[in-house]
Protein backbone atom coordinates (compact mmCIF):
# COMPACT_ATOMS: atom_id res chain seq x y z
CA UNK A 1 0.00 0.00 0.00
CA UNK A 2 1.32 3.40 -0.92
CA UNK A 3 0.01 6.91 -0.45
CA UNK A 4 0.56 10.19 -2.24
CA UNK A 5 3.91 11.96 -1.95
CA UNK A 6 4.48 13.98 1.19
CA UNK A 7 4.21 17.72 1.62
CA UNK A 8 7.33 18.79 3.55
CA UNK A 9 7.00 21.27 6.40
CA UNK A 10 9.09 24.36 5.62
CA UNK A 11 7.78 26.60 8.39
CA UNK A 12 11.15 26.52 10.20
CA UNK A 13 13.19 27.00 7.00
CA UNK A 14 15.11 30.27 6.78
CA UNK A 15 15.66 30.87 3.08
CA UNK A 16 19.07 32.52 2.49
CA UNK A 17 18.83 35.36 -0.03
CA UNK A 18 21.18 37.85 -1.61
CA UNK A 19 20.74 40.94 -3.78
CA UNK A 20 20.41 38.88 -6.94
CA UNK A 21 18.07 36.15 -5.65
CA UNK A 22 15.76 38.28 -3.53
CA UNK A 23 13.41 39.27 -6.42
CA UNK A 24 12.66 35.56 -6.97
CA UNK A 25 11.38 35.35 -3.41
CA UNK A 26 9.52 38.66 -3.70
CA UNK A 27 7.68 37.02 -6.60
CA UNK A 28 6.86 33.81 -4.74
CA UNK A 29 5.54 35.87 -1.81
CA UNK A 30 2.90 37.08 -4.30
CA UNK A 31 2.44 33.56 -5.70
CA UNK A 32 4.28 34.38 -8.92
CA UNK A 33 7.20 32.47 -10.45
CA UNK A 34 9.65 34.79 -12.19
CA UNK A 35 13.20 34.35 -13.47
CA UNK A 36 15.92 36.84 -14.38
CA UNK A 37 16.50 37.56 -18.07
CA UNK A 38 19.49 39.56 -19.34
CA UNK A 39 18.34 42.97 -20.57
CA UNK A 40 21.25 43.04 -23.04
CA UNK A 41 21.04 39.66 -24.82
CA UNK A 42 17.81 38.08 -23.53
CA UNK A 43 19.44 34.99 -22.00
CA UNK A 44 17.83 33.66 -18.83
CA UNK A 45 20.26 33.09 -15.99
CA UNK A 46 19.71 30.69 -13.12
CA UNK A 47 20.91 30.92 -10.41
CA UNK A 48 20.19 34.60 -10.20
CA UNK A 49 23.83 35.71 -10.21
CA UNK A 50 25.59 39.00 -10.89
CA UNK A 51 26.63 38.35 -14.52
CA UNK A 52 25.05 37.00 -17.69
CA UNK A 53 26.87 33.74 -18.52
CA UNK A 54 26.29 34.48 -22.19
CA UNK A 55 27.26 38.17 -22.66
CA UNK A 56 28.59 39.02 -19.16
CA UNK A 57 26.29 42.03 -18.68
CA UNK A 58 24.74 42.65 -15.26
CA UNK A 59 21.19 44.08 -15.53
CA UNK A 60 18.15 41.77 -15.63
CA UNK A 61 14.37 41.92 -15.97
CA UNK A 62 12.30 39.49 -13.89
CA UNK A 63 9.98 37.67 -16.31
CA UNK A 64 6.98 35.35 -15.64
CA UNK A 65 8.07 31.73 -16.06
CA UNK A 66 5.11 30.28 -17.94
CA UNK A 67 3.75 26.75 -17.73
CA UNK A 68 5.82 24.31 -15.62
CA UNK A 69 6.55 20.73 -16.71
CA UNK A 70 8.58 17.87 -15.22
CA UNK A 71 12.11 17.62 -16.66
CA UNK A 72 13.07 14.76 -14.36
CA UNK A 73 12.33 13.47 -10.88
CA UNK A 74 13.29 10.85 -8.34
CA UNK A 75 11.29 9.07 -5.66
CA UNK A 76 12.74 8.83 -2.17
CA UNK A 77 11.33 6.53 0.52
CA UNK A 78 10.19 8.27 3.70
CA UNK A 79 10.04 6.33 6.95
CA UNK A 80 6.39 5.85 7.86
CA UNK A 81 5.10 6.69 11.33
CA UNK A 82 4.01 3.14 12.14
CA UNK A 83 3.25 -0.28 10.71
CA UNK A 84 -0.34 0.67 9.91
CA UNK A 85 0.68 3.80 7.99
CA UNK A 86 1.01 3.52 4.21
CA UNK A 87 4.53 3.79 2.78
CA UNK A 88 5.22 7.40 1.87
CA UNK A 89 7.54 9.01 -0.60
CA UNK A 90 9.14 12.37 -1.17
CA UNK A 91 9.43 13.30 -4.85
CA UNK A 92 12.19 15.80 -5.70
CA UNK A 93 11.39 17.25 -9.10
CA UNK A 94 13.30 19.26 -11.68
CA UNK A 95 10.96 21.71 -13.40
CA UNK A 96 11.21 23.50 -16.74
CA UNK A 97 9.05 26.43 -17.82
CA UNK A 98 7.44 27.30 -21.17
CA UNK A 99 8.55 30.93 -21.13
CA UNK A 100 11.99 30.67 -19.45
CA UNK A 101 14.17 28.49 -21.70
CA UNK A 102 17.32 27.17 -20.07
CA UNK A 103 16.02 27.52 -16.52
CA UNK A 104 15.45 24.46 -14.34
CA UNK A 105 14.02 24.83 -10.86
CA UNK A 106 14.81 22.19 -8.23
CA UNK A 107 11.63 21.67 -6.20
CA UNK A 108 9.32 19.05 -4.73
CA UNK A 109 6.25 17.32 -6.19
CA UNK A 110 3.51 17.00 -3.58
CA UNK A 111 0.23 15.05 -3.37
CA UNK A 112 1.21 12.84 -6.29
CA UNK A 113 0.91 9.08 -6.51
CA UNK A 114 4.44 7.96 -7.50
CA UNK A 115 3.07 6.01 -10.49
CA UNK A 116 1.53 9.23 -11.83
CA UNK A 117 4.78 11.18 -11.97
CA UNK A 118 6.25 11.30 -15.48
CA UNK A 119 8.74 13.33 -17.48
CA UNK A 120 6.95 16.10 -19.43
CA UNK A 121 3.90 15.99 -17.14
CA UNK A 122 2.27 19.42 -16.71
CA UNK A 123 2.40 20.95 -13.24
CA UNK A 124 0.73 23.66 -11.21
CA UNK A 125 2.57 25.55 -8.47
CA UNK A 126 1.52 25.20 -4.87
CA UNK A 127 2.74 27.69 -2.30
CA UNK A 128 4.12 26.60 1.07
CA UNK A 129 5.07 28.86 3.98
CA UNK A 130 8.69 29.10 5.14
CA UNK A 131 10.01 31.13 8.09
CA UNK A 132 10.86 34.17 5.98
CA UNK A 133 9.53 33.33 2.51
CA UNK A 134 7.00 31.43 0.44
CA UNK A 135 8.39 28.23 -1.11
CA UNK A 136 7.20 27.05 -4.53
CA UNK A 137 6.20 23.38 -4.62
CA UNK A 138 4.29 21.65 -7.43
CA UNK A 139 1.30 19.39 -8.00
CA UNK A 140 0.44 17.40 -11.10
CA UNK A 141 -1.99 19.32 -13.34
CA UNK A 142 -3.67 15.96 -14.11
CA UNK A 143 -3.17 13.82 -11.02
CA UNK A 144 -4.79 10.70 -12.50
CA UNK A 145 -2.44 7.95 -13.66
CA UNK A 146 -2.41 8.21 -17.42
CA UNK A 147 -0.25 5.21 -18.35
Amino acid sequence: MTGPSITPDFTALEVPMDTWSEPFWQGTAEHRLTFPRCTTCGTFRWPAGPFCPSCHAQPVDWVPAGEPRIYSFTILPVRSAGDDEPARQRIPVLVEFADAPGVRLVSVLIDAMPEAAAIDARLVPHWLPAANAVVPAFRLASPEISR
Binding site: L13, S21, S72, T74, P92, V106, S107, V135
Partner: protein, 388 residues
Protein backbone atom coordinates in the same frame (compact mmCIF):
# COMPACT_ATOMS: atom_id res chain seq x y z
CA UNK B 1 50.87 10.33 -33.67
CA UNK B 2 51.64 9.27 -30.14
CA UNK B 3 53.28 11.72 -27.76
CA UNK B 4 56.17 10.53 -25.55
CA UNK B 5 55.45 10.62 -21.83
CA UNK B 6 57.53 12.92 -19.64
CA UNK B 7 56.68 11.38 -16.26
CA UNK B 8 55.66 8.10 -14.70
CA UNK B 9 54.10 6.59 -11.61
CA UNK B 10 56.97 4.69 -9.97
CA UNK B 11 55.50 3.84 -6.60
CA UNK B 12 52.07 2.82 -5.30
CA UNK B 13 51.05 2.41 -1.68
CA UNK B 14 47.84 1.82 0.21
CA UNK B 15 46.41 1.21 3.64
CA UNK B 16 43.95 -1.64 4.06
CA UNK B 17 40.38 -0.64 3.19
CA UNK B 18 37.91 -0.31 6.06
CA UNK B 19 34.14 -0.09 6.24
CA UNK B 20 32.89 3.43 6.93
CA UNK B 21 34.27 4.66 10.25
CA UNK B 22 36.10 1.40 11.10
CA UNK B 23 39.56 2.88 10.45
CA UNK B 24 39.25 4.71 13.78
CA UNK B 25 41.04 5.32 16.12
CA UNK B 26 43.61 6.06 13.43
CA UNK B 27 43.16 9.58 12.09
CA UNK B 28 43.01 10.21 8.36
CA UNK B 29 46.53 11.65 8.65
CA UNK B 30 47.78 8.40 10.12
CA UNK B 31 46.18 6.56 7.20
CA UNK B 32 47.81 8.96 4.74
CA UNK B 33 51.15 8.55 6.48
CA UNK B 34 50.98 4.78 6.14
CA UNK B 35 50.09 5.07 2.45
CA UNK B 36 52.98 7.48 1.85
CA UNK B 37 55.43 5.15 3.63
CA UNK B 38 54.20 2.25 1.48
CA UNK B 39 54.40 4.24 -1.76
CA UNK B 40 57.92 5.47 -1.00
CA UNK B 41 59.08 1.94 -0.20
CA UNK B 42 57.51 0.67 -3.43
CA UNK B 43 59.40 3.39 -5.33
CA UNK B 44 62.65 2.60 -3.56
CA UNK B 45 63.01 6.08 -2.06
CA UNK B 46 63.19 7.40 1.48
CA UNK B 47 60.80 9.87 3.07
CA UNK B 48 63.46 12.56 2.86
CA UNK B 49 63.51 12.16 -0.91
CA UNK B 50 59.89 13.35 -1.12
CA UNK B 51 59.86 16.97 -2.24
CA UNK B 52 56.38 17.36 -3.69
CA UNK B 53 52.80 16.71 -2.57
CA UNK B 54 49.68 16.80 -4.76
CA UNK B 55 46.04 16.53 -3.68
CA UNK B 56 42.53 16.99 -5.07
CA UNK B 57 38.99 17.47 -3.71
CA UNK B 58 39.97 20.22 -1.25
CA UNK B 59 43.17 18.40 -0.32
CA UNK B 60 44.73 17.96 3.09
CA UNK B 61 46.60 20.05 5.65
CA UNK B 62 50.14 20.19 4.24
CA UNK B 63 51.53 21.64 7.46
CA UNK B 64 50.13 18.85 9.58
CA UNK B 65 51.33 16.23 7.09
CA UNK B 66 54.95 17.42 7.00
CA UNK B 67 55.06 17.78 10.78
CA UNK B 68 53.50 14.43 11.50
CA UNK B 69 55.32 12.47 8.81
CA UNK B 70 58.59 14.34 9.24
CA UNK B 71 58.89 15.39 5.61
CA UNK B 72 61.86 17.76 5.49
CA UNK B 73 62.25 18.67 1.85
CA UNK B 74 58.85 19.57 0.41
CA UNK B 75 59.07 22.49 -2.05
CA UNK B 76 55.96 21.81 -4.11
CA UNK B 77 52.47 21.31 -2.60
CA UNK B 78 49.42 21.82 -4.79
CA UNK B 79 45.79 20.82 -5.06
CA UNK B 80 43.54 20.27 -8.07
CA UNK B 81 40.18 21.99 -7.67
CA UNK B 82 36.90 20.17 -8.14
CA UNK B 83 35.70 17.24 -6.06
CA UNK B 84 36.30 13.57 -6.97
CA UNK B 85 36.20 15.05 -10.46
CA UNK B 86 39.76 16.35 -9.97
CA UNK B 87 41.25 12.95 -9.10
CA UNK B 88 43.01 12.16 -12.39
CA UNK B 89 44.16 15.79 -12.60
CA UNK B 90 46.62 15.04 -9.77
CA UNK B 91 48.85 13.32 -12.29
CA UNK B 92 48.80 16.44 -14.48
CA UNK B 93 50.08 18.55 -11.58
CA UNK B 94 52.63 15.93 -10.56
CA UNK B 95 53.92 15.53 -14.12
CA UNK B 96 54.22 19.31 -14.48
CA UNK B 97 56.12 19.43 -11.20
CA UNK B 98 58.71 16.84 -12.16
CA UNK B 99 59.10 17.61 -15.85
CA UNK B 100 59.89 21.26 -15.08
CA UNK B 101 62.36 20.24 -12.40
CA UNK B 102 60.39 21.98 -9.64
CA UNK B 103 60.46 18.71 -7.72
CA UNK B 104 61.91 15.23 -8.17
CA UNK B 105 59.69 12.88 -6.18
CA UNK B 106 56.10 14.07 -6.10
CA UNK B 107 53.56 12.08 -4.09
CA UNK B 108 49.88 12.15 -5.12
CA UNK B 109 47.52 11.42 -2.25
CA UNK B 110 43.86 10.41 -2.01
CA UNK B 111 42.11 9.41 1.20
CA UNK B 112 38.75 9.34 2.87
CA UNK B 113 37.55 8.62 6.37
CA UNK B 114 33.84 8.78 6.97
CA UNK B 115 33.65 9.29 10.70
CA UNK B 116 30.74 11.51 11.73
CA UNK B 117 29.98 12.62 8.18
CA UNK B 118 29.23 10.66 5.07
CA UNK B 119 30.23 11.44 1.51
CA UNK B 120 26.84 10.07 0.46
CA UNK B 121 25.14 12.93 2.28
CA UNK B 122 27.62 15.53 1.08
CA UNK B 123 25.02 17.93 -0.27
CA UNK B 124 23.67 18.39 3.24
CA UNK B 125 27.12 19.02 4.74
CA UNK B 126 27.37 22.59 3.47
CA UNK B 127 26.00 25.75 5.09
CA UNK B 128 22.77 27.00 3.52
CA UNK B 129 23.25 29.39 0.59
CA UNK B 130 20.85 31.18 -1.79
CA UNK B 131 21.67 28.43 -4.34
CA UNK B 132 21.70 25.20 -2.37
CA UNK B 133 18.46 26.00 -0.51
CA UNK B 134 16.60 24.54 -3.49
CA UNK B 135 18.18 21.12 -2.95
CA UNK B 136 17.02 21.32 0.67
CA UNK B 137 13.50 22.15 -0.44
CA UNK B 138 13.54 19.21 -2.84
CA UNK B 139 15.10 16.82 -0.32
CA UNK B 140 18.17 16.05 -2.44
CA UNK B 141 20.65 15.31 0.34
CA UNK B 142 23.35 13.40 -1.56
CA UNK B 143 24.95 12.96 -4.98
CA UNK B 144 23.10 9.69 -5.62
CA UNK B 145 19.71 11.27 -5.13
CA UNK B 146 20.56 14.13 -7.47
CA UNK B 147 22.15 11.84 -10.07
CA UNK B 148 19.01 9.69 -10.04
CA UNK B 149 17.44 12.57 -11.97
CA UNK B 150 20.10 12.15 -14.68
CA UNK B 151 19.66 8.38 -14.75
CA UNK B 152 15.90 8.76 -15.24
CA UNK B 153 16.44 11.28 -18.02
CA UNK B 154 18.89 8.89 -19.73
CA UNK B 155 16.25 6.15 -19.57
CA UNK B 156 13.62 8.52 -20.95
CA UNK B 157 15.75 9.84 -23.81
CA UNK B 158 17.55 6.67 -24.88
CA UNK B 159 15.43 3.80 -23.59
CA UNK B 160 18.14 2.68 -21.15
CA UNK B 161 16.85 -0.14 -18.93
CA UNK B 162 17.38 -0.97 -15.29
CA UNK B 163 18.85 -4.23 -16.58
CA UNK B 164 21.80 -2.16 -17.81
CA UNK B 165 22.38 -0.61 -14.36
CA UNK B 166 22.12 -4.15 -12.95
CA UNK B 167 24.73 -5.43 -15.41
CA UNK B 168 27.21 -2.75 -14.30
CA UNK B 169 26.79 -3.93 -10.71
CA UNK B 170 26.82 -7.64 -11.57
CA UNK B 171 29.98 -7.25 -13.69
CA UNK B 172 31.58 -5.40 -10.79
CA UNK B 173 30.69 -8.20 -8.35
CA UNK B 174 31.98 -10.82 -10.77
CA UNK B 175 35.32 -8.98 -10.92
CA UNK B 176 35.51 -8.54 -7.15
CA UNK B 177 34.91 -12.24 -6.47
CA UNK B 178 38.61 -13.02 -6.81
CA UNK B 179 39.95 -9.83 -5.23
CA UNK B 180 40.76 -10.18 -1.54
CA UNK B 181 40.72 -6.44 -0.89
CA UNK B 182 37.08 -6.23 -2.04
CA UNK B 183 34.18 -5.98 0.41
CA UNK B 184 31.39 -7.20 -1.87
CA UNK B 185 32.58 -10.44 -3.44
CA UNK B 186 29.36 -12.46 -3.59
CA UNK B 187 27.85 -12.76 -7.07
CA UNK B 188 24.68 -10.76 -7.64
CA UNK B 189 21.79 -12.07 -9.73
CA UNK B 190 19.37 -9.98 -11.77
CA UNK B 191 16.51 -11.18 -9.55
CA UNK B 192 18.34 -10.04 -6.41
CA UNK B 193 19.03 -6.68 -8.04
CA UNK B 194 15.41 -6.18 -9.08
CA UNK B 195 14.14 -7.15 -5.62
CA UNK B 196 16.32 -4.60 -3.81
CA UNK B 197 14.71 -1.54 -2.23
CA UNK B 198 14.81 1.71 -4.18
CA UNK B 199 16.93 4.39 -2.51
CA UNK B 200 16.33 7.07 -5.14
CA UNK B 201 14.14 5.68 -7.90
CA UNK B 202 15.36 4.58 -10.50
CA UNK B 203 18.42 3.78 -8.35
CA UNK B 204 18.20 0.88 -5.93
CA UNK B 205 20.63 0.19 -3.11
CA UNK B 206 22.96 -1.80 -5.40
CA UNK B 207 23.46 1.21 -7.69
CA UNK B 208 25.17 3.10 -4.87
CA UNK B 209 28.86 2.49 -4.23
CA UNK B 210 30.40 1.40 -0.95
CA UNK B 211 31.18 3.83 1.86
CA UNK B 212 34.66 2.95 3.11
CA UNK B 213 37.83 4.42 4.61
CA UNK B 214 41.39 4.26 3.36
CA UNK B 215 44.36 6.16 1.96
CA UNK B 216 46.49 5.65 -1.14
CA UNK B 217 49.62 7.40 -2.40
CA UNK B 218 51.56 7.35 -5.66
CA UNK B 219 55.12 8.54 -6.36
CA UNK B 220 55.66 10.37 -9.65
CA UNK B 221 59.10 10.79 -11.29
CA UNK B 222 60.31 12.47 -14.44
CA UNK B 223 61.63 10.32 -17.27
CA UNK B 224 65.29 10.72 -16.21
CA UNK B 225 64.69 9.09 -12.80
CA UNK B 226 61.83 6.72 -13.57
CA UNK B 227 64.02 4.00 -15.11
CA UNK B 228 66.10 3.71 -11.91
CA UNK B 229 63.17 2.71 -9.72
CA UNK B 230 62.59 -0.95 -8.73
CA UNK B 231 59.36 -1.39 -10.72
CA UNK B 232 58.61 -0.89 -14.36
CA UNK B 233 57.41 2.74 -14.78
CA UNK B 234 53.73 3.35 -15.44
CA UNK B 235 53.92 6.23 -17.88
CA UNK B 236 51.57 9.19 -17.62
CA UNK B 237 50.72 9.30 -21.30
CA UNK B 238 48.32 12.24 -21.08
CA UNK B 239 46.06 14.00 -18.61
CA UNK B 240 43.18 16.37 -19.37
CA UNK B 241 41.38 18.79 -17.09
CA UNK B 242 38.35 20.64 -18.47
CA UNK B 243 35.97 23.05 -16.74
CA UNK B 244 33.09 22.89 -19.23
CA UNK B 245 30.23 25.30 -18.39
CA UNK B 246 27.79 22.86 -20.03
CA UNK B 247 28.44 20.62 -17.01
CA UNK B 248 29.38 23.26 -14.41
CA UNK B 249 28.40 22.39 -10.86
CA UNK B 250 26.62 19.29 -12.14
CA UNK B 251 24.38 17.70 -9.52
CA UNK B 252 25.02 20.57 -7.12
CA UNK B 253 22.85 22.78 -9.33
CA UNK B 254 21.26 20.54 -12.01
CA UNK B 255 21.24 23.15 -14.76
CA UNK B 256 23.57 21.30 -17.12
CA UNK B 257 22.68 21.69 -20.79
CA UNK B 258 20.12 19.19 -22.07
CA UNK B 259 22.86 17.09 -23.71
CA UNK B 260 25.23 17.30 -20.75
CA UNK B 261 22.44 16.33 -18.35
CA UNK B 262 22.36 12.76 -19.69
CA UNK B 263 26.17 12.53 -19.85
CA UNK B 264 28.82 12.01 -17.17
CA UNK B 265 30.24 15.47 -17.96
CA UNK B 266 33.39 14.03 -19.50
CA UNK B 267 32.89 14.43 -23.24
CA UNK B 268 35.17 17.48 -23.48
CA UNK B 269 37.72 15.77 -21.20
CA UNK B 270 37.75 12.71 -23.43
CA UNK B 271 38.34 14.77 -26.57
CA UNK B 272 41.19 16.70 -24.99
CA UNK B 273 42.69 13.58 -23.45
CA UNK B 274 42.70 11.56 -26.66
CA UNK B 275 44.13 14.52 -28.58
CA UNK B 276 46.93 15.00 -26.05
CA UNK B 277 47.77 11.29 -26.02
CA UNK B 278 47.43 10.80 -29.78
CA UNK B 279 45.26 7.81 -28.92
CA UNK B 280 41.58 6.89 -29.14
CA UNK B 281 39.14 4.65 -27.30
CA UNK B 282 40.19 1.71 -29.50
CA UNK B 283 43.70 1.97 -27.97
CA UNK B 284 42.52 1.56 -24.35
CA UNK B 285 42.98 -1.96 -22.97
CA UNK B 286 41.32 -1.48 -19.58
CA UNK B 287 39.07 1.31 -18.31
CA UNK B 288 39.09 2.28 -14.64
CA UNK B 289 35.91 4.35 -14.50
CA UNK B 290 34.86 6.25 -11.37
CA UNK B 291 31.81 4.22 -10.39
CA UNK B 292 30.11 6.02 -7.51
CA UNK B 293 26.73 5.20 -9.10
CA UNK B 294 26.18 2.51 -11.72
CA UNK B 295 24.39 4.65 -14.39
CA UNK B 296 27.39 6.99 -14.47
CA UNK B 297 29.54 4.11 -15.73
CA UNK B 298 27.23 3.81 -18.73
CA UNK B 299 27.39 7.56 -19.34
CA UNK B 300 31.20 7.57 -19.08
CA UNK B 301 31.42 4.76 -21.64
CA UNK B 302 29.51 7.07 -23.98
CA UNK B 303 31.54 10.18 -23.07
CA UNK B 304 34.84 8.36 -23.68
CA UNK B 305 33.65 6.98 -27.00
CA UNK B 306 33.57 3.26 -26.20
CA UNK B 307 30.07 3.22 -27.69
CA UNK B 308 27.83 5.78 -29.43
CA UNK B 309 25.87 8.31 -27.35
CA UNK B 310 22.71 6.76 -25.98
CA UNK B 311 23.80 3.17 -26.64
CA UNK B 312 25.64 2.64 -23.36
CA UNK B 313 22.82 0.57 -21.91
CA UNK B 314 22.75 -1.94 -24.75
CA UNK B 315 26.56 -1.90 -24.82
CA UNK B 316 26.93 -3.05 -21.22
CA UNK B 317 24.04 -5.49 -21.54
CA UNK B 318 25.99 -7.18 -24.36
CA UNK B 319 28.71 -8.11 -21.85
CA UNK B 320 31.17 -5.58 -23.26
CA UNK B 321 32.57 -4.42 -19.91
CA UNK B 322 33.30 -7.87 -18.48
CA UNK B 323 36.63 -9.68 -18.57
CA UNK B 324 37.21 -10.62 -22.20
CA UNK B 325 34.69 -8.04 -23.42
CA UNK B 326 35.28 -5.13 -25.78
CA UNK B 327 36.54 -2.94 -22.93
CA UNK B 328 37.05 -4.51 -19.50
CA UNK B 329 35.89 -2.02 -16.84
CA UNK B 330 37.13 -2.01 -13.24
CA UNK B 331 38.61 -5.52 -12.96
CA UNK B 332 39.27 -4.74 -9.27
CA UNK B 333 35.57 -4.39 -8.53
CA UNK B 334 35.67 -0.59 -8.40
CA UNK B 335 33.80 1.57 -5.93
CA UNK B 336 30.69 -0.56 -6.30
CA UNK B 337 32.29 -3.78 -5.00
CA UNK B 338 35.88 -3.31 -3.83
CA UNK B 339 36.10 -0.05 -1.84
CA UNK B 340 35.53 3.68 -2.24
CA UNK B 341 38.47 6.03 -1.77
CA UNK B 342 37.42 8.91 -4.05
CA UNK B 343 38.78 7.30 -7.22
CA UNK B 344 42.33 6.45 -6.20
CA UNK B 345 41.75 2.71 -5.85
CA UNK B 346 41.35 2.85 -9.63
CA UNK B 347 44.87 4.28 -9.96
CA UNK B 348 46.25 1.42 -7.86
CA UNK B 349 44.49 -1.02 -10.19
CA UNK B 350 45.84 0.76 -13.28
CA UNK B 351 49.37 0.47 -11.89
CA UNK B 352 48.89 -3.24 -11.17
CA UNK B 353 47.40 -3.86 -14.63
CA UNK B 354 50.28 -2.09 -16.39
CA UNK B 355 52.93 -3.79 -14.27
CA UNK B 356 51.24 -7.06 -15.17
CA UNK B 357 50.58 -7.96 -11.53
CA UNK B 358 46.81 -7.40 -11.25
CA UNK B 359 44.62 -10.00 -9.57
CA UNK B 360 42.32 -10.00 -12.59
CA UNK B 361 44.98 -9.24 -15.15
CA UNK B 362 43.74 -8.13 -18.57
CA UNK B 363 46.02 -10.14 -20.84
CA UNK B 364 48.56 -7.96 -22.57
CA UNK B 365 47.19 -4.69 -21.18
CA UNK B 366 49.51 -1.81 -22.05
CA UNK B 367 47.15 1.18 -21.83
CA UNK B 368 44.70 2.13 -19.08
CA UNK B 369 42.17 4.94 -18.72
CA UNK B 370 41.48 6.43 -15.30
CA UNK B 371 38.69 8.94 -14.74
CA UNK B 372 37.80 11.48 -12.11
CA UNK B 373 34.28 11.26 -10.76
CA UNK B 374 31.31 12.93 -12.43
CA UNK B 375 31.03 15.95 -10.09
CA UNK B 376 31.57 19.74 -10.34
CA UNK B 377 34.26 20.87 -12.79
CA UNK B 378 37.12 20.56 -13.48
CA UNK B 379 36.43 17.10 -14.79
CA UNK B 380 39.64 15.14 -15.33
CA UNK B 381 40.90 11.94 -16.94
CA UNK B 382 44.26 10.31 -17.61
CA UNK B 383 45.74 7.68 -19.86
CA UNK B 384 48.52 5.56 -18.34
CA UNK B 385 50.71 3.19 -20.31
CA UNK B 386 53.42 0.59 -19.79
CA UNK B 387 55.12 1.96 -22.89
CA UNK B 388 56.54 5.43 -22.99
Amino acid sequence: MTAKATAAIVGSGSTPYYFRGESAPQTIYELIGKAVHAAAADAGIGLNDIDGLVFFAFGFDTGLLIEQLGLKNVVFAHCVSGFGSGMAGMFDLAAMGVETGRAKNVVCIGATQQVGRRVGQALGNFAATPDNVFHRIAGLGGPGQALALSARRHMHRYGTRREAFAEVVMASRAAAATRETAFRRKPLSLDEYMAAPMLADPLCKFDFCLETDGALAFVVNAVDRAADRPHRPVWIKAVAQVADPAWGRAFFWLNQTDDAFVSAGAEAVAQRLYARAGLGPQDIDVALLYDHFSPLVIMQLEDYGFCPRGEGGAFVESGAIRAGGTIPVNPHGGHLSEAYVVGVTHVREAVEQLRGTAVNQVAGATTALITGGPAPVPMTGAILSSER
